[in-house]
C-alpha cells in the first residue's frame, strides 16, 4: 500500500501503539492487576456467597462486563491522554502543518485507542480463564460489539482531549461520567433485579446495552434486545465521529 494517506494513517497508528507499548507499566499492567483483584474479591470471595445471577455462576456473569469495562476505560484513556499530550507539547502541530486529512487523523488516533482497548481486553480475558471457563456463545456478536464499543469510546476520548485545556480536564469525564455509568451499566448485576422505575432509568445508560450485548456474545444472556444495542452503537459511532471531524475541521482547541 503506497498511497500517501495509507502511509500517514500507518504512521499515526504506529506512533500511538509504540507510545502505549513503551509505557506498558502505566497502560497494560494496571488493568491486569485491577481485574485480577475484581475476579478474586467479587468473583471468588463475594461471588461464592451470591450464588447465581440470572441462572449463571456469578463469576461467569461478571467476567464479560469486566472485560468490557477494561476496553471502555482504556480506549477512552489512550486517545484522551495521547491527543492532549500532543496538544500540550504542541507536537500536534506536526500533523496540522502536514497534508494529512482530518479523517485520517481521526482514524489514526481512534485505531490507536482501539488497539490499546482490545489489547487490555485480551489480557483481562486470558487472566479470567484462571477463574472461570469462558465459552463464546456468538463470536460475531462478541467481536463486533467490543470493536464498536472501543471505537465509540476512543472517539469520545478524542473529543474530550480537543476540549481539554489542562490535564485535569482529561480526567473529569472518566471519573465523574464514565466510571459511574460503567458501574451502573449492569457489570455486576442484572437490571432485572432493580425496581421497574430504575430499570427504565438504567435503559438510558448506553453502557448497559454494550455490556449486555457483549455478555450475550459470551454466555448467551442479555437483559436488553441485542439489535437495540447495535442500533445505539452505530448511532453513537456516527454521531461522535461526525462531531470529532467537525471539531478538527474548525480547529477547535487547536487553531486560534
Amino acid at each position: 500500500m503506497n498511497h500517501p494517506y495509507w502511509v500517514a494513517f500507518s504512521a499515526i497508528v504506529y506512533k500511538e501503539v509504540r507510545r502505549f507499548m513503551r509505557i506498558w507499566m502505566q497502560t497494560l499492567l494496571p488493568p491486569a492487576i485491577t481485574m485480577v483483584l475484581y475476579f478474586i474479591i467479587f468473583g471468588n470471595l463475594i461471588g461464592s456467597r451470591i450464588g447465581t445471577m440470572d441462572g449463571y455462576d456469578y463469576m461467569q456473569f461478571i467476567v464479560p462486563g469486566l472485560i468490557m469495562m477494561t476496553v471502555i476505560t482504556n480506549s477512552y484513556g489512550n486517545v484522551s491522554s495521547s491527543f492532549f499530550s500532543n496538544k500540550f507539547q504542541k507536537s500536534i502541530e506536526e500533523l496540522m502543518v502536514s497534508p494529512v486529512p482530518n479523517w485520517i487523523i481521526l482514524l489514526g488516533f481512534v485505531v490507536g485507542g482501539v488497539t490499546r482497548g482490545l489489547a487490555c481486553g485480551l489480557i483481562v480475558t486470558v487472566l479470567s480463564l484462571w477463574f472461570t471457563d469462558l465459552q463464546v456463545h456468538n463470536a460475531f456478536v462478541t467481536l463486533s460489539v467490543i470493536l464498536l464499543t472501543a471505537v465509540v469510546f476512543a472517539t469520545a476520548g478524542l473529543i474530550n482531549a480537543i476540549f481539554a485545556t489542562k490535564f485535569d480536564d482529561v480526567t473529569i469525564v472518566p471519573t465523574f461520567i464514565l466510571t459511574p455509568l460503567t458501574y451502573l451499566g449492569g457489570v455486576f448485576y442484572s437490571v432485572s433485579l432493580l425496581p421497574e422505575v430504575w430499570q427504565w432509568v438504567s435503559k438510558l445508560n448506553p453502557i448497559l446495552y454494550m455490556v449486555n450485548t457483549f455478555r450475550y456474545g459470551i454466555i448467551g444472556h442479555s437483559d436488553i434486545p441485542v439489535l437495540a444495542a447495535y442500533g445505539m452503537l452505530l448511532m453513537f459511532t456516527g454521531l461522535l465521529m461526525s462531531w470529532a471531524l467537525y471539531l478538527l475541521h474548525t480547529g477547535r482547541g487547536l487553531r486560534s
Binding site: 494517506y5 507536537s91 487553531r255
Partner: protein, 310 residues
C-alpha cells in the same frame, strides 16, 4: 513565473477582538530568501501561522506556489516546510524517530524517510544524536532538529520563525551557511528574525510589518539605499569633556574618548573628518552605531507607531 507566496488583503481578527492583520499584501518570488521583520506583536507569526495552517485564516487570499489555501490546502501543505518559533516535538521521542514520523505524515515510506532523515541529520550535524531523546538536546540542536524535520519531504518553500533565537554565534553562522546552501539549491526561504544582521546578510528581499500593516517591502539593498540618516561613532585620541561642535552635523558625546554624529545621505564622512581635524582631534577608529537595517527598522516602525497614535 509562479510566486512562492502571494498574500492579498489578508486580515485576521482574533476571537478576543484583537486585529492582528489589517489587510496585508505580500509577494515572494520563487527561489527568494525573504525576511519578514517587525516588532513583537506586529503580526509576523500570525501571517506565517495562517500560511502554515496553524492559525485560522480571516479575510483575504493566500497562494503558496500557485495553490490556493482555501481550495487546495493539501497542495499548499505539501509545498511547505515549517520551523516554528517554539519547540513543537515530542521531547520523549528520539531525534531520528521524530523526523521519520513526520515524513510518514507526508506519505514518505519508511525506507525513504530513514534515508532522508540521515541526509539532513548529517547536514545539520545531528547524526550522532539520532538515538538521543529530543529533550536531551541543547537549544541549538533542537532548532536544527526542527529544520531537518521541516525539510524531510523536500518542500519548495521553507518558513522559519526566528530560527536562530537563543543560538550561539558559531551555530548561528553554521545555520546561515546551511540555509544559504539549500536556498541556492532552489528552496524559497522566508524567515522572521529579531537579529537584523541576520536578515541583512541572508535575505535578498525584506518586508517590514508593524501594527498589522506592511510598512515597507523591497529588495534589501534598495531599502538600505533609501535610508535617510546613519549614525556613526568615532573614537578620538585624547580626552573630551563636551562634544565638539561640528557645523552641519548633530554630534553628541558618548564618553570621554568617543562622540557620535548623524550623517544624512547628502553628507560624507570626509566632511566630518575635515571638521574633526580642524578642531585638532585625531580619529583612531569609526563604526556605525547600529546595524544599518536596524536603524531603518527603528525609523519605519517608530513612524508607523506615531501615525497610529495620531
Amino acid at each position: 513565473m509562479t510566486k512562492a507566496l502571494e498574500i492579498q488583503q489578508l486580515r485576521k481578527v482574533y476571537d478576543n477582538g484583537f486585529v492582528a492583520l489589517k489587510g496585508i499584501d505580500l509577494s515572494v518570488e520563487e527561489g527568494d530568501f525573504f525576511a519578514l521583520l517587525g516588532p513583537n506583536g506586529a503580526g509576523k507569526s500570525t501571517t506565517l501561522g495562517i500560511v502554515s495552517s496553524l492559525v485560522n485564516k480571516g479575510e483575504g487570499k493566500v497562494f503558496v506556489c500557485g495553490y490556493d489555501l482555501d481550495t487546495q490546502r493539501e497542495a499548499v501543505k505539501r509545498s511547505l516546510g515549517v520551523v516554528p518559533q517554539e519547540f513543537n516535538f515530542n521531547s520523549f521521542e528520539k531525534v531520528q524517530d521524530i523526523i521519520v514520523q513526520q515524513a510518514g505524515y507526508y506519505g514518505l515510506k519508511r525506507k525513504l524517510a530513514e534515508a532522508r532523515s540521515e541526509t539532513y541529520l548529517k547536514q545539520l550535524d545531528l547524526w550522532d544524536k539520532r538515538d538521543v531523546p529530543a529533550r536531551m538536546l541543547s537549544g541549538g540542536m533542537k532548532r536544527r532538529l526542527m529544520i531537518a524535520r521541516a525539510l524531510v519531504h523536500e518542500p519548495r518553500m521553507l518558513i522559519l520563525d526566528e530560527p536562530t533565537a537563543g543560538v550561539d554565534i558559531e551555530i548561528r553562522r553554521s545555520m546561515w551557511a546551511f540555509l544559504k546552501r539549500i536556498n541556492k539549491q532552489g528552496t524559497t526561504i522566508i524567515l522572521t528574525t529579531h537579529y537584523l544582521e541576520e536578515a541583512e546578510s541572508l535575505c535578498r528581499n525584506i518586508a517590514i510589518i508593524d501594527n498589522g500593516e506592511i510598512v515597507a517591502q523591497a529588495p534589501t539593498k534598495t531599502l538600505l539605499k533609501g535610508k535617510q540618516r546613519s549614525t556613526y561613532v568615532v573614537d578620538v585620541r585624547g580626552t573630551l569633556t563636551i562634544a565638539p561642535e561640528l557645523e552641519g552635523f548633530n554630534s553628541r558625546l558618548v564618553d570621554e574618548h568617543s562622540i557620535e554624529f548623524d550623517l544624512t545621505r547628502e553628507q560624507t564622512l570626509n566632511e566630518v573628518f575635515a571638521l574633526l581635524q580642524a578642531k585638532g582631534l585625531e580619529v583612531t577608529s569609526i563604526r556605525p552605531k547600529t546595524n544599518r537595517l536596524e536603524e531603518l527598522f527603528v525609523d519605519l516602525t517608530t513612524n508607523s507607531k506615531q501615525e497610529a497614535d495620531a
